[in-house]
Amino acid sequence: MASALGPATKSALISKLAAIVGEAHVASDAAGLAVYEFDASDEAIAGHHLPLVAVLPGSAEEVVQVVNLALAHDLPVVARGAGTGLAGGAIAARGGILIVMTRMTRIHEINEIDRYAVVEPGIVNLDLSNTLLQQGYFFAPDPASQRVCTLGGNIANNSGGPHCLKYGVTSNHILGLEVVLPSGELTWVGGPSGETSGYDLTGAIVGSEGTLGIVTKAMVRLTRKPEAVAVLLAAFPSMDAASRAVSAIVAAGVLPASLEMMDALTISAVEAAFHCGYPTDAAAVLLVELDGLAETVAEHGEIVARKCREHEATMVRHATTKAEQDLLWLGRKSAFGTLGRLAPNYYLQDTVVPRTKLPPALEFVGQLGREFRLEIANVFHAGDGNLHPLMLFDRRERGAIQRVLEAGDALLEYCIAAGGAVSGEHGIGMEKKDALSLCFTTDDLRAMAGLKRSFDPRELFNPEKIFPSGFSCGEVNQLKQQSLMRDGMYVV
């Protein structure tokens, strides 16, 4: 552990790290490390944890050497991308060596026929997609932070984004990984084929938040750019009407590429920042994107418009030009940040309910706002039932953060009781590890701990994440007394 290293050992370690990655790519001074105390989560979640040292390796080989040095010193290792995570996943909770992957941005191969690319994890999601678009392909997962977030972070969190309604989450788009295992070995898992021979560990590693390995290259699936894209904007007099329209669209057999909802508060903030053309008098809007063959898109566009009108839509508009579509998406994807204009702090909750449970869930969010005296904005992936209520507050106000966290917990419990999940796409990290026992039994967690132990018996890879506090993967019985669990929670 960090404190266990004497000054001489620490300075020797730093020299060795400098020899591996280069002196310019090691940070060990107060200021150089202070910037890694945060990711995009609130400090109430991230706490105040500093790594012992941070390094920015330039290649897989350097990562291997850094990891082996950490293993030799019994130090934790935590991988970090752009630091846009919202659950504290990239925080060095137990100190150790922070491995910042942002310099590893190379694209090693793009294979159009076999529809894969081999890239390094530091590449920014949108940079990857833009490169692929030049050849008529894209990388489907598109989290709102895609201008900033790295592919490695997407893999660690199994990120979603608006377009995973149709295209699926990151896990569905990762074919293989080059990974440094907690044993210090570098290996490939998976491959370009739909099934690999042997047994494929790729799916287990994606979404494991760096607790099972550190990805140094990824083989990502390329998705062909569709021949037609349509974007529809519909305005509704209530959130309820909008959410019933969502169910009606899906029930009509249409699977849009994305189906997003924004409430009035969000619209006002977005319009103030970017002037995207959202109607400021609507209680809710749906942003619907359809893609595919030209005929399918045209036909589905009519169905979507009809279903919206049948559910009280006061306006349905087709964004006809690419510029208009881009502007609407800019507003949607920047929405969280624009809400930062309304209050000094916000807490973004990420939960999921089955799509048909959206209307009561949104009603419950409204109740929470009244009960806990919180302004709550809603901007979320309605098609997936993935809620993102954003609670505005001012940290300096006495008791504000407690009210926010209590409201967040109440919402989690509600969503789980409604058949939902603790996190849809932002990850567990430090934020929600204790909430895991809301939906999983000790037996469930013991099985997951078995997976962790198989990869990382020394528990040095991103420790203090995912598993509830006090739950050691080695001694699984401890949790029994703490568990708040209700069996079979998700069975509706």
């Binding site: 910037v35 630091g83 930062g340 940290r395 300096r396």
Partner: protein, 454 residues
């Protein structure tokens, strides 16, 4: 902010005051600005220094974290990394344009620099260079013109060629700086000495900011600007008593020098007959628009500062928004447009220059990649951070020349000097032209056509 905030939220807001421990005085970075940052990281890809280093401390979010750490007393103001980062920032404000939360980052960095300047003199060489520059030369336009005249003598006498060839400058560590020295104008623009009456129907009076570098190195750009404005129906005056806008001093943390410059200019531009204060230097215009913030705590000047700041327009913005009444003549050239940071980011002006270019018949605009990424000039940044500056310049020139355009159009003297110097050292023939010069050429082309027709 127009968004509704429910009453029950405001009613409960018992805000606890926060105490700044690491900063002091009225120019401390304001807490409410620091707190606007929700560390979402959306600024990272917009930041030139992050793009090149890919490390958090060299990003806007990282720098705000450092400022916050100093404010909370967790990091020393004297910390060398903190100081390095405050000065590695180009203050290009690209992050502000990318920031969804509206963090006024420029104010934070300028305040932090002011704190450093006040409390911990940096190395003697840098500090003395800066003081000489700001207080001694930029601080007085008369002295700036005198110094510039000396420089012109140096260029004209052939001493420049001799010194360049001798490698003398390289030996004393000034080679890069010398390459940045502009070819000075034959005739400087002296405020109060020149006037351009409106042609055709008079639409108003605009006052031109002469500035320091512009009035000496680019006096001809001023005259071109004035001709374009007058041709479009505006009386153009250059009020006496004005001086440097103060931007270079403010960006480096010498807020007092900046305030002195601001007061002088506010006085010079205070005539109610002036409809707009027009700048053709993006950095100067951006600074003047923030005179109200700079003098917010000065009871004698705050109101006047607010009034003048509200009148400031960049010339491209002004012309495009007012509309051209005279159609320019054709220019059959290919151009690419480089967006000065203080135009696109600080003033959010991106559409208007392109509209003006589109108004020139036969001109073809080829957009360069990363047109809004800083060229590395950034005031005197190129003198203080040569390594980062030249890396950014390399990238800018690669982007610009990849278009194959014959002319790089810009709207800020610093960028023009920087790019011209870069092109010169590479031996590339591409011309760097101010957008007003180009418009002026287009109008001249009209005159030639008309003359030929007669």
């Amino acid at each position: 902010m127009s968004a509704p905030v429910a009453e029950h939220v405001l009613a409960s807001a018992v805000v606890q005051p926060e105490v700044l421990t690491g900063f002091s005085g009225p120019d401390a970075p304001p807490w409410e600005v620091i707190n606007t940052c929700v560390h979402c990281g959306f600024c990272l890809p917009a930041c030139p220094t992050y793009k090149l280093t890919l490390r958090e401390r060299s990003s806007p979010r990282g720098r705000i974290t450092l400022i916050k750490a100093v404010a909370e007393g967790r990091l020393d103001l004297m910390d060398p990394t903190f100081q390095d980062e405050m000065y590695l920032c180009l203050n290009c404000r690209a992050c502000e344009a990318a920031c969804p939360s509206g963090v006024k980052y420029g104010e934070l960095v300028e305040s932090a620099r002011a704190q450093i300047e006040a409390q911990s003199p940096r190395t003697l060489r840098v500090r003395s260079a800066r003081i000489a520059a700001f207080r001694g030369v930029f601080g007085s336009s008369r002295r700036f013109r005198a110094a510039s005249a000396g420089l012109r003598l140096y260029q004209r006498t052939g001493a420049q060629r001799f010194v360049r060839r001798s490698g003398l400058l390289r030996r004393v560590g000034l080679a890069e700086k010398e390459a940045l020295l502009p070819e000075l104008s034959e005739r400087f623009l002296v405020p109060g000495k020149e006037f351009w009456p409106a042609e055709g129907v008079r639409r108003g009076t605009v006052a031109l900011l002469a500035g320091c570098i512009m009035s000496t190195a680019y006096a001809e750009v001023h005259r071109a600007t004035a001709r374009v404005l007058s041709r479009n129906g505006f009386d153009v005056i250059v009020p006496p008593g004005q001086g440097c806008c103060g931007a270079l001093a403010i960006h480096s943390g010498d807020l007092e020098a900046g305030r002195a410059a601001a007061r002088a200019n506010i006085a010079a531009f205070s005539s109610p007959s002036i409809d707009a204060v027009v700048s053709n230097a993006a950095g100067c215009g951006a600074a003047m628009r923030e005179y109200d913030f700079l003098l917010r705590n000065d009871p004698d000047w705050a109101e006047r500062a607010r009034r003048i700041a509200g009148k400031v327009r960049d010339v491209s913005e002004f012309l495009a928004d007012q509309g051209l009444v005279a159609t320019p003549g054709p220019l059959a050239v290919t151009v690419t447009y480089q967006e000065p940071c203080h135009l696109v980011h600080a003033q959010r002006i991106s559409r208007q220059p392109r509209e003006l270019l589109a108004a020139i018949p036969e001109l073809q605009l080829i957009e360069m990649p990363e047109s809004a990424l800083c060229c590395g000039s950034a005031g005197i940044y190129n003198l203080l951070q040569p390594e980062m500056s030249s890396a950014l310049l390399e990238r800018k020139l690669a982007n610009a020349t990849s278009t194959g355009a014959a002319i790089i159009v810009s709207a800020n003297p610093g960028c023009m000097l920087q790019m011209a110097a870069g092109l010169r050292s590479k031996g590339v023939q591409t011309e760097v032209v101010h957008i007003m010069t180009l418009l002026d050429r287009a109008y001249a082309a009209l005159d030639v056509t008309a003359a030929a027709a007669n």
